[in-house]
Amino acid sequence: MTDASIDKEAFSTPQKPVSPAVQAWRMFRKNHSAVVGMVLLGVVILVSIFGPMFYQVDPSDMVWMPSTAPGQSEYILGTDYLGRDILAGLINGGRITITIGAAAALLTVVIGVTIGALAGFYGGWVDNILMRITEFFQVLPNLLFAMVVVMLFSASLTNIAIAIGIVSWTGTARLTRAEFMRLRDMDYVRAERAIGAKNWHMIWTVILPNAAPPLIVSAALSIGTAILFEAGLSFLGLSDPNSMSWGRMIGDNRPYILDSWWGVTFPGLAIFLTVLAISLIGDGLNDALNPKLRKR
């Protein structure tokens, strides 16, 4: 081109190109409550990972007199009806609770995105069949279905995570499907097809990254939902008897709530703060990833 020299002046960008991820992070930082949420969740995760190394009390051991109130012994949050240290329970339970939450959320996303993507991309009879399956799962009462699964296959951590995953993927599937149907007819998708992209490539590397923002938000929020779900199951007694989780602590101490409030309050607070933190982060992600709020 002869006029390339003119172009050079007119089009050169002074600043370095910014990737969408960096852009999103800048937007996220502006949302203060989201940053608070992230700090809070960071603390919870750090304590769960490293806490047991520093505070070496077995959460299943009887360490002191049963039902000792907080501040009355060296165990600052008190002991439960079996004399187990509540603080140790919180620290160790965090691991289990967050692991189950994350695993269940991951399963939710994997199943939901796969089914939604295939249904939305192919449409027609594929969509019909997959959506009927989705509806089948939607009409089952979630908690009841999860309870049945856990009871049938024993209450191990894996089974609990799987049970939560398979009852909660339907929303993600519908969201993904809607996004795919919207994006399927975009010009760049047509253009990609015109240069010979295969279907598989179109689904996973062309459309999915463009559908990612709402999916990331929903995935983040589904961790919170999964944690609540786990707490719910444990409260009903369906928890892994070999590992301490926040939900199980609440469930165990429920009968003694009138005599020793601390048994259920502290794990309840832990769940509340963690889920709140995740919700705040989800809200921040929504701001950061929503193209309508983002300045170009």
Partner: protein, 331 residues
């Protein structure tokens, strides 16, 4: 005459609309030779873009499908090959540039990644080599400092730059045929000229045949070797470009050409209003009527025009016309 690169024969495309099959393209035949630029002209809605999609095997199905005819591309019938086969032809051998450069690039990848990705999908090459080729291609389409521009996202580029990137993507596999569907409609006039210069330059360099779809006769005169005029899904006139511009035969073509404003040395005080063809392009549902689809708007309409579609007449100069007037004259 050697065998053409592309030979479309009696192509029919129909859409299923409310239970009845509506023809969108009817009995379309044309050829594109190696290293030739064919222009397809016509008003909006006359089947130009649908022809392009039919060649790419991208007619939206449902509701559309190719109901008849063949698309012979180097001996293979594209109307009959399977979708996986078509996928390996697209991009590799036939490529397409769309109208809308603003929305035709994937917003989540850098332009360089998109070009390199295409190269990697079609050639058996590694990341580094794909990047080299992409940078080279960016340079070829006239993007300044291509190494730096490689990492730009589409939204950081202007429309003209994006269209250059689109061209780079569609040409990186050196296709034998490039279909450009109104590639400059969304761009302003100066950028238009640059893009067309680029097309010409690349066509000479890569030896690609081009089908240029446009409604701008000026562009056709500038760019193409041969022109085909479409109206209501049919070809109504075809011929070498110079002869076509100078000596339009079909009343519709005459109308199109008189629609172009001309430069006048001593313009009159009160400017003569620009010629326009009365009426509008018939809608798809009106297409199944017998007779010449242009008849209701034609200034030289005869009785039989309403009932019978005229046969095509081939004139000595390589001109093909479908009009009763032409048949009269030759009879």
């Amino acid at each position: 005459m050697s065998t053409p690169l592309l030979s479309v024969q009696n192509l029919d495309v129909a859409f299923q609309i409310e239970g009845s099959e509506v023809p969108i393209i009817r009995d379309l035949s044309f050829e594109v030779s190696y290293n030739e630029v064919l222009g397809i002209v016509g008003e909006s809605g006359c089947g130009k873009s649908m022809t392009a999609l039919a060649l790419m095997g991208l007619v939206p199905n449902p509701p559309g499908r190719i109901t008849n005819g063949s698309i012979l591309f180097e001996g293979r019938d594209l109307a009959k090959v399977s979708e996986p086969q078509m996928q390996s032809i697209r991009g590799n051998e036939i490529s397409m540039v769309f109208q809308e450069p603003m929305t035709s690039l994937n917003p989540v990848y850098t332009v360089g990644e998109q070009i390199a990705e295409t190269a990697r999908a079609h050639f058996n090459i590694g990341r580094a080599e794909a990047k080299d080729r992409a940078v080279e291609m960016l340079k070829l389409v006239g993007i300044p400092s291509p190494e730096r521009r490689f990492d730009d996202y589409p939204h950081q580029m202007s429309g003209g730059m994006r269209q250059r990137v689109m061209i780079a993507i569609s040409l990186i596999c050196e296709p034998k045929l490039l279909i450009a569907d109104e590639p400059t409609t969304a761009l302003d006039v100066t950028v238009q000229a640059q893009i067309f210069d680029l097309f010409k330059e690349l066509q000479e360099k890569i030896k690609t045949s081009i089908i240029l779809i446009t409604h701008d006769i000026g562009v056709v005169a500038e760019m193409t070797d041969r022109v085909m005029v479409m109206y209501a899904g049919r070809k109504i006139e075809e011929g070498p470009v110079a002869d076509f511009i100078q000596n339009p035969r079909h009343p519709y073509t005459k109308g199109l050409i008189s629609c172009i404003p001309t430069l006048q040395e001593n313009p009159p005080e009160i400017p003569v209003p620009l010629f326009e063809i009365p009426g509008v392009v018939p809608s798809a549902s009106e297409l199944s009527r017998p007779g010449c689809a242009f008849a209701p708007r034609c200034s030289q309409k005869m009785d039989r025009c309403a009932n019978l579609f005229p046969q095509t007449v081939e004139l000595a100069t390589g001109r093909i016309v479908s009009c009763w007037l032409e048949m009269e004259e030759n009879a």
